[in-house]
Structures are given as structure tokens and as C-alpha cells.
């Protein structure tokens, strides 16, 4: 019997069957399943979906659904901001203390200045910064987020938001991928696999970067705490800071919608595809598993990655800062050269230099920036405490409120980190889309910061 004969026979049989035969196959499967289930399952009581249903009616209700969503987001961010603040200072004191000790030890045994400087003021200082700035928020944010994930709340978010996504020509499950993006944009890009339609999946991939990932949260938290919240009474600090970060996140969501809409009107033209989403029953999260996955899988993983890029970045900064040319050094010179462009965007040259060095991982932007500002040997200790940072930035380097706000906007909108770009390439198998993801985000960042800076200057605010 030849394969072709069988194929031809199958085709002729198929053409003879009534058109709805595929429906019939599924229908008979389900009918059988129904009968078997009926015989095997007895409902002892009638309180089937009671509690789940009550919760669901609350979290998706027309009146309370969206406010609850916003409240949960604010609460998680507030918890992260206020909790991180407490721990961060402690960790900084200990780590910088170790740095002092190590430096003293090296001096004692007569190491040349450049070895001491390279190791302790370059590599170690940048590592200490990354750990003290990143570890605390991650240790709070990731478990809180995993809790909501395991509980089964995230599909409800997709349910609440789908209409907006549909209007922008995208898929409601994009909100699930955005939620993953809070943790890590590369993870968010991989999570877009839940979207079946290639067009909508591409939109989700390209816009995922507008959600600030955990590497960028510390930057936002620091700026919100040091600049925005500093002028309020201490009792309100954590709320104001959290409120500011929530605001930035919402701006990011806004840009997501805007970019999705523009993409589906231009490069990725098309209509919204089918949307079917299961809202699974709520499950009691397993606390020990949450701690395990969020601390081991996520926190350690992200931190390790950050440290791998922080160490060489610290080394590069130290070298740049210690190659003296006249009475300036290389780092300063590059920063000065970038300065006019930076000022145009309401930032400065040092920030741009930090971003260039931080392309492998956004986490190290703040540490890099700090190190250039401090310069080599000028200030061997990291400024612990918010007032010290404020002092360094404002009085020492001419920062204004505009710089802080524009840096927050820039941190939110600028290009994805190298890992994310690589992930986008792997998922789309196309240089074109990977390039576009960079061009689009960077373009948005430049444009927005330029506009706010110009506007602020025009109004005489800065």
C-alpha cells in the first residue's frame, strides 16, 4: 500500500463527509467525557464555587476591579520602597566598611596604589553598590509578585485590561507579559509565548521594555526618595516615593498602549485576533515554594547577572577616571564631551556615559554614575544615606528637579539591556525586530526627555 494512495483515499473520504464532521469529533469526545465524569463525581454539597466567586466578583467588578488593581500595585511598590530603605542603608554601611578595611589592609602590606585602587575603588566599590542598591528591593518585590502570580490574580488583570489592549490592536494577555516584565524584561519577552497570534506577540515583545524591570526599579526608587519625597515630612516619605514610582509605572503603561496602537496602525497592521483566556480557580500559594523560586530563581539569578557586569564596569570606570590628561581624566573628558547632548535632554554627560557603560545591564547605571561623580580618590567611601546622595548630586554636580524627573523618564523609556535585546532576537529570529526594539525605545526616550526639558525651560522652571 502506497502512502499516496492512502492520502488520496483520505482526501476523497473527507470530501464526502458532511462539513461539520470536525465539530462532531470534538462533540463526541466531550459527550463521552461528560458521561464518565458524571459517573465518577458526586457533589456532596452545593457550595461549589462560593468563595472564589465572591472574590472574583470583587476583583473584576466594574466599580472595584480597576481600583483594586491599582491599590495592589501601589501596595507592592510601597512595601518595596519602605522595606528596601531600611535594609539598604544597613547593607551599605557593612559593605563600604569592608571596603575601607580592605583598602587599609592593602596599604599596610605595601601594595602599589593602582592595584588597591583598581580592586577596591573600582571593582569592589561597584559590586558593593549593586548589592546594596539592588538586593533589598528585589528580596521584597519578587516574593510579593510571585505570591500574586501563584494565587491566580494575574489572569484577572488580563481580564480587566483586555478591552484597552483590544482598542490598541493588541492582545489582553500582553498584560501578563508586562507583569513578568516588572521582574525582568527578558523574562517578559519569553512570556509572550502565551500569545498565539504572531502579530500581537511581536507588539508585546517590542513594547515590553516600557515596563520598568527590577534592574531599573532601584534607580526609580532612589530618585523618588531622594528628590521627590525629600521635601515632604518624614512620615510621608515612603508614601510619596511609592506614589511617584507608581506614577512612573503608569506613564510606562501609557506608552505601552501608545506604542502598541502606533505599531498596529503602521508596521504591524491588522485586527485584534481571537482572545480566549481561562480564569483558573484561586490556589493557596505555597509560601516556602514562593520564597524558594523568588529568592533562588529570580533574585540570585538577577543579582548574579548584575554583578557579572558590574565588576568589569567598575574596572572600566576606575581606569577611565585614572587616566589623567592634564588636570582632567578620561572619564570626565568623555562626560564633558557628551554634556551638551545630555543637557539638551535635561540630563548631563555623566548620566549618558553611565548609560553607555550600563548597556549590558541597567542595574549598574546608578553605581556607575556615582563613581564618575565621585571621581577617583576624591571620595573613597560611598555616600551612605539619602542626604549624602542629595548633597553629592545637587550641590556637587548641579542636579535639579528636572534632572531627576528626566532621569526617571529616561530610565523608564530607554533601550532594553543587552540580555533583553538578545532574547528578542532569539524569540523573533530576526535582526530587524531586535534593532527596532532598540531604535523605538531609544527614540521615545530621547524625544520625551527633550520635550520635557524644553518645556520646563520654556516655562522657566529649570
Amino acid at each position: 500500500m502506497e502512502a499516496n494512495e492512502i492520502l488520496a483515499k483520505a482526501e476523497s473520504l473527507r470530501n464526502d463527509l458532511s462539513t461539520g464532521f470536525r465539530d462532531e469529533i470534538v462533540k463526541s469526545l466531550y459527550t463521552e467525557a461528560e458521561n464518565i465524569a458524571k459517573r465518577a463525581v458526586k457533589a456532596a454539597t452545593d457550595k461549589k464555587y462560593d468563595l472564589d466567586q465572591k472574590i472574583d466578583r470583587l476583583v473584576t467588578s466594574p466599580y472595584t476591579g480597576l481600583p483594586i488593581m491599582l491599590l495592589l500595585l501601589s501596595f507592592v511598590i510601597w512595601l518595596t520602597v519602605s522595606g528596601a530603605n531600611v535594609v539598604s542603608n544597613g547593607i551599605a554601611v557593612v559593605l563600604f566598611g569592608i571596603g575601607d578595611y580592605g583598602r587599609a589592609l592593602f596599604d599596610q602590606i605595601g601594595m602599589p596604589w593602582w592595584i588597591t585602587g583598581f580592586i577596591w575603588d573600582g571593582v569592589y566599590l561597584s559590586l558593593a553598590w549593586v548589592v546594596s542598591v539592588m538586593l533589598p528591593p528585589m528580596m521584597i518585590f519578587f516574593p510579593a509578585f510571585t505570591f500574586l502570580e501563584d494565587l491566580g490574580y494575574l489572569p484577572r488583570v488580563a481580564f480587566n485590561m483586555d478591552w484597552l489592549f483590544k482598542k490598541t490592536g493588541a492582545h489582553g494577555k500582553q498584560s501578563l507579559t508586562m507583569a513578568m516584565g516588572f521582574g525582568c524584561n527578558a523574562a517578559g519577552v519569553i512570556a509572550t509565548r502565551v500569545i498565539d497570534s504572531p502579530r500581537e506577540r511581536l507588539i508585546a515583545i517590542l513594547t515590553n521594555n516600557f515596563v520598568p524591570c527590577n534592574g531599573r526599579f532601584p534607580t526609580l526608587i532612589m530618585l523618588a526618595t531622594v528628590f521627590v519625597a525629600a521635601s515632604f515630612p518624614p512620615a510621608l516619605t515612603s508614601f510619596i516615593a511609592a506614589g511617584t514610582v507608581v506614577g512612573v509605572v503608569l506613564i510606562g503603561v501609557l506608552f505601552t498602549f501608545l506604542a502598541s496602537w502606533i505599531l498596529s496602525k503602521t508596521l504591524l497592521k491588522g485586527e485584534a485576533s481571537a482572545f480566549t483566556l481561562e480564569l483558573p480557580p484561586y490556589r493557596r500559594p505555597n509560601i516556602s515554594r514562593i520564597l524558594y523560586t523568588s529568592i533562588i530563581d529570580r533574585t540570585i539569578f538577577v543579582l548574579w547577572r548584575a554583578m557579572q557586569t558590574a565588576a568589569p564596569a567598575g574596572a572600566i570606570i576606575w581606569i577611565l577616571a585614572n587616566i589623567h590628561l592634564g588636570d582632567s581624566n578620561l572619564a570626565r573628558m568623555i562626560a564633558d564631551w557628551l554634556n551638551p547632548f545630555g543637557l539638551l535632554l535635561g540630563l548631563d554627560g555623566v548620566i549618558l556615559l553611565a548609560y553607555i557603560i550600563a548597556i549590558p545591564a541597567n542595574e549598574i547605571v546608578v553605581p556607575t554614575m556615582m563613581m564618575v561623580y565621585m571621581g577617583a580618590g576624591m571620595m573613597i567611601n560611598g555616600p551612605s544615606g539619602n542626604s549624602a546622595i542629595f548633597d553629592l548630586l545637587v550641590n556637587g554636580n548641579g542636579w535639579t528637579m528636572l534632572t531627576a524627573i528626566n532621569l526617571m523618564l529616561f530610565a523608564l523609556l530607554h533601550n532594553p539591556c543587552a540580555t533583553t535585546i538578545l532574547t528578542i532576537y532569539k524569540e523573533t529570529k530576526s535582526y530587524k525586530w531586535a534593532t527596532l526594539s532598540v531604535v523605538m525605545t531609544l527614540g521615545t526616550a530621547f524625544l520625551v526627555t527633550f520635550l520635557t526639558a524644553s518645556f520646563a525651560r520654556l516655562m522657566g522652571w529649570a
Binding site: N15, G65, G270, E271, L279
Partner: protein, 334 residues
Amino acid sequence: MNMTVWLALTIVLIAAIFIPRMGFLAIYKTYRATRERELVEDALKHLLDREQHGRQASPESLAGTLNLQRGRITRLIEDMETQGLLESRGTNLHLTTQGERWALHVVRAHRLWERYLTDEARMPLGRIHGESERREHSLTEAQLNDLDAALGHPTRDPHGDPIPTREGTLLKTEGMPLTAWQSEDPVRIVHLEDEPALAFEQILAAGLRLGQTIRILDRNPQRILLTDGETEFRLAPAVAANVSVAPLPESEAAKANAIPLAELTYDQRAEIVVLDEAVQGFTRRRFLDLGLTPGTVVYPELQNFFGDPRAYRVRGTLIALRKDQAAQIWVKPV
């Protein structure tokens, strides 16, 4: 210095023109060949269409359809004769067996593309014909078979026209023109002719769609008055002739008393009667796999701020569906 620059520029220019496959000349040649092939295929389609409608094709009709000068047409016909695709007998043109095979291939490509654009790309019905015209020339036999399989071997395009099988058999278009239907019994729209485009536009603008059940209320030489039970439609007889109808199949009769799932009120229980014929391909399978099969009892359980999507309880699980999708599932309240 100047001399060198000029020399370099000239070399670059020559290279840009003559480099195989990437040079301007090569690109132009490819373009010419593609354009020629498109012309041949469009001509074949015209001839097949005429033959199926029992009418004769002539160089004039061909020139009209392809919008070409007489001289160009003569050359085209000569070329096609040499290739053994057509024969001219007197003023009439006829397809050879080989020509018919090729013509069927193009028609198959066109209709499969229409199916794809509707089911998978969800393009509006008004745009698919033009897009398919562009795409129909690009696929090989094997690629077409893959597309066919990926779409689940559809038998009709979104206009209701039959899709030729891979062996090249073409089912007859079912139904009769609306103008020929005399009784007042409800009928189903089985085909909307998409050419001429102007008439098709009017049909769509009136709100008629494939698979719709309608009834003729009144007719006179100026217009035909139709209803789908709610809205009334008016069509000029010339336009109505492009709408083919057939008596209701049994499944459609069931739909008559049903309402779309999207119209159920909160917590109102209903039994699924039938999935609309407009849902095909991947979406239909997804619906069925989720357990949205005829006979299943469902009810809307959750509603969000925007009122869209809603979540329905289906076989013990909450499934969220958008409004336009839920409108394609017909249910009967229980």
C-alpha cells in the same frame, strides 16, 4: 585624485547595474518576469471564469478585464499559445488541459489566501479580495498544499465560492441568484460575488454577509426589500443578482430561535445551539477545544469595567471571551 574618484564611481555604478541577482538589471529582469507571469495567470483566470459561466472568452473580453492595449493582448495570446496554455478558435479563446490546470492552481491560491486572511489575519471582508489578488501569484504547488493543510482543508472561500482541491476538482457554486428566488421562505446567503467591486461594496454597505438568513419582504423592478428579522435591507435588482441564496440547511433552522451568547444577561443560563459559520479555522477549533460544543450549558459570570470581555462558566471553568467572539456562538436560554 579626481580621476581615481571618477573611476571608482564608475566601477561601483557598473557593478550596481550588472551584478548577478542583486544588480539593477537583474532586479528589473525578475520584475519583468514576475509581471509577465501575473498577466498570464490573470488571463488564465479570466478564461476559466468565462468557461465556468458557460460564456465565451475573446481577445476583447480579455483586454477589458486585464485593462491592456490591443497590441499587448495579441502578443500575450500568442505567447500563451506557444506555451500550450490556450487555443484560439475563430475569435474565441479556449483553455487547454494544461492551461486549465494552471488556472485552477491560481484560483485555489486566491481562495485559500482569502480564507487565510479572514480566519487567521482577521482582515475585514472588503479588503481580502484585493490582497489575495496580490498574493495569488507567489505560491508553488507544495506551498499551497501546506497552506491548505494549515487552514484545515477548507472547502469554500469566505464568499462561499468553492476552493479547488489539490487534484484540481472544483465543486459547483451552490444556490441561485436572489432575484430568481420566488418563495417567501427564509433563505441563507451562500455566495456574495465580489466582482464588480462596486456592486460588492454596495452589498457589504447594506450589511449583508455570508451565512446570513434572510427573507424577501417585497420586490418591484426598482428594488428588493429583505429582512433578517430585525433590520430591513434594500437592494437594486442588479446588485441583488450578485447575491446567491439557497434553502436553509437543518442546522440553520435551529439558529432561527437562538440568540448570540453575547446577548445573555448576567447569570442567565443557556444551551449552545450552534457555532456561527463565520467562525472557521483556528478560532473554531479553539472554541470547540474549550468545550463550547453544541448542547453545553453556559452562563456569563463575570463582567469588567468596560463590559468587554465577559467571563463565562463553561464545563466548570471560567473562560473569558470578547464580545465579538461571543456574538458568534448561538445559544438558547434554558
